[in-house]
Amino acid sequence: MTDSGATRMTAVSDSLMRGGAAGSATMAALGQSEAIARRMRRRGREARFSWLVPTIYIIVLMLPIYWLINMSFKTNAEILSTFSLWPQNPTLRNYAIIFSDPAWYSGYINSIIYVSLNTVISVSVALPAAYAFSRYRFLGDKHLFFWLLTNRMAPPAVFALPFLQLYSSFGLIDTHIAVALAHCLFNVPLAVWILEGFMSGVPKEIDETAYIDGYSFPRFFVKIFMPLIASGIGVAAFFCFMFSWVELLLARTLTTTSAKPIAATMTRTVSASGLDWGVLAAAGVLTIIPGALVIYFVRNYIAKGFALGRV
């Protein structure tokens, strides 16, 4: 492009010269257009290598994930003996083990149950709380709102002991609801913050117009308000899902067998015959998939979610 562009520009300036009005203004314009053409040529050379850095970055980023997928299709013998960039004898044995052995697949089922429970509880508790923070002024509202977020600042390990003691006295240990409730400790504040941001983006006059039209509060909230902040609810649910899905410490401490999460199962696979690398890799791949699926649905709102709805 640059060559033909420069030729065309020269042609244009030639015609300008011939046009008779070839005063100093035209000369200046000509000089300017040549400068622009030069700059464009230089930028063209630079652009030829501009793909390099992102490509390297993406390769570095994707390498562990690729290696995990690679391993999950190999036999243990191949993993341990040779270095191969792709499976020499591709096998589905590792996945077959996971889908047939209850010790493995129940881990997924347990995780999904408590994560879903937690998401539902967190969002439904956070919705009215966020509405109150967004619409009403009350004594200490700002302090309370900030204090909520500080709950996220303590490492979960701090809460493991009190939860263990509390839940064992209520007989909740090794139940899905125990993990779901424990995760609420840091998911509810997060959901409140995200939802408050989205709700504050809806003008208060819409609420009032609805009341004037005769809507009762619950009806307004469900029929008018929730559709308006649907993307916010989606993002809040996604963040609750994600944090609950990756959290290991509390989930492991509060369960033993019947509600054991997949991540805990993965860390307990050392058998008499040593580690089963292939199965472990397959389990890893399957653990990534739900997150990737969920993130796909809220991909357009994630940035706003990370800014806690305040963009």
């Binding site: 003008p203 006059e205 819409i206 009032e208 117009t209 609805a210 009341y211 004037i212 039209d213 005769g214 809507y215 009762s216 009806r219 008018i224 559709p227 308006l228």
Partner: protein, 360 residues
């Protein structure tokens, strides 16, 4: 009939509404006129029941409705911002109050189409409000207020965010649309010309107080006090301090003006004289009105009218004249006050005498 009795509203340490008494009859058009922050919106929210007065009571058709929630009141309201339900089509937006009231489907359809026809929204019924222009969005909000058929319709500067042309159109239509229903129609505006065009009654507001309430023309012609006169003047009212002795007003330092007939009854003393910009003339009326010396600061020309800003002594005045009239800054010109249009206010800002009823 809606009646406010001694209504006061304080928020934190600030008093937004100071002990307001107002009474609007059914089938009347009432304008709340005042500058921004004068309490128009606060007053409307109190009437609608969106806010509860700190003290005082609100009566609707004789019943005390002070604590009654907004859902149970017979009210419709349109905001200055274009407020619609973004997730519903224009049709559903208009139908919304009737849907809540569980009106029969056929009736809803008929009413929605009637209102849409009236506000020229028929081609947009299936569109979403946010895909419409500002004027169409506001017409949707107005249509919703119409179909509700409420006893009290509150319009809070509904045309302020619209462009000039649409504004003129809607302003002419609005009173007609709501007059049929026999409702109490309350319209808040910052613009005196809008109040005059709408007619009806006007309550002039200033800093949370109703300074005067009465038929719009009367309030305009016979303001009870200086604040009302200033609220009801655009461009701003010209004022000057004057001392009356016998048949002469002495304006500021030296200039003299004969006392016009309608102010003869005033006792001698100091007053504030006020007059509208279009009563300050640049050509000699030829009836012996003495010229006053003015120094031009700037001239604004709109085409059909010119605003000549000038200083008379220390007072900043505006003269509104027809046609194009251009002066250079600092040019010295003679100006003539139309003596028959002078208003006189005493030291407390109250009208010293009822002004002439025929002044316009």
């Amino acid at each position: 009939m809606i009646e406010l009795k001694g209504v006061t509203k304080t928020v934190g340490a600030e008093t937004h509404i100071h002990s307001v008494d107002l009474r609007f009859e059914r089938g009347t058009l009432n304008v709340l006129l005042g500058p921004t922050l004068s309490g128009k919106t606060s007053l409307m929210r109190l009437m609608a029941g969106l806010d509860r007065p700190t003290s005082g009571t609100v009566h609707f058709d004789g019943k005390d409705v002070t604590g009654v929630s907004v859902q149970k009141r017979d009210v419709a309201m349109v905001y200055q911002q274009f407020i619609n339900y973004p997730n519903m089509s224009v049709y559903e937006n208009i139908a919304s109050p009737m849907r809540v009231a569980r009106v029969a489907k056929a009736v809803i359809d008929r009413e929605v189409r009637k209102a849409a026809e009236l506000l020229r929204l028929t081609p947009y019924l299936d569109r979403m409000p946010l895909s419409l222009s500002g004027g169409q969005q506001q017409r949707t909000a107005l249509a919703r207020a119409i179909v509700k058929n409420a006893g009290l319709v509150l319009l809070d500067e509904p045309l302020a965010n619209l462009d000039y042309k649409l504004r003129e159109e809607l302003r002419a239509e609005l009173p007609r649309i709501f007059a049929e229903a026999g409702t109490i129609f309350v319209y808040a505006t910052t613009e005196p010309s809008e109040a005059l065009l709408l007619g009806g009654n006007t309550a002039a507001l200033s800093q949370g107080r109703v300074t005067q309430f009465g038929p719009t023309i009367d309030v305009y012609r016979m303001p009870a006090d200086l604040i009302t006169a200033q609220t009801f003047a655009d461009p701003p009212l010209n004022t000057v301090a004057a001392t009356k002795s016998g048949l002469r007003f002495t304006l500021g330092e030296g200039a003299e003006l004969p006392v016009p007939d309608h102010l003869r009854a005033l006792s001698d003393g100091s007053y504030t004289l006020a007059f509208h910009p279009h009563h300050l003339r640049l050509d000699a009326p030829g009836d012996g009105t003495p010229p006053l010396p003015g120094r031009v600061t700037i001239t604004e020309i709109t085409g059909s009218e010119s605003f000549v800003h000038l200083f008379f002594q220390e007072e900043s005045w505006v003269s509104l004249v027809h046609g194009i009239c251009h002066f250079e800054p600092d040019e010295q010109i003679d100006v003539y006050i139309d003596p028959a249009r002078l208003m006189a206010f005493d030291g407390h800002g109250r009208a010293a005498l009822p002004p002439p009823a025929l002044a316009a």
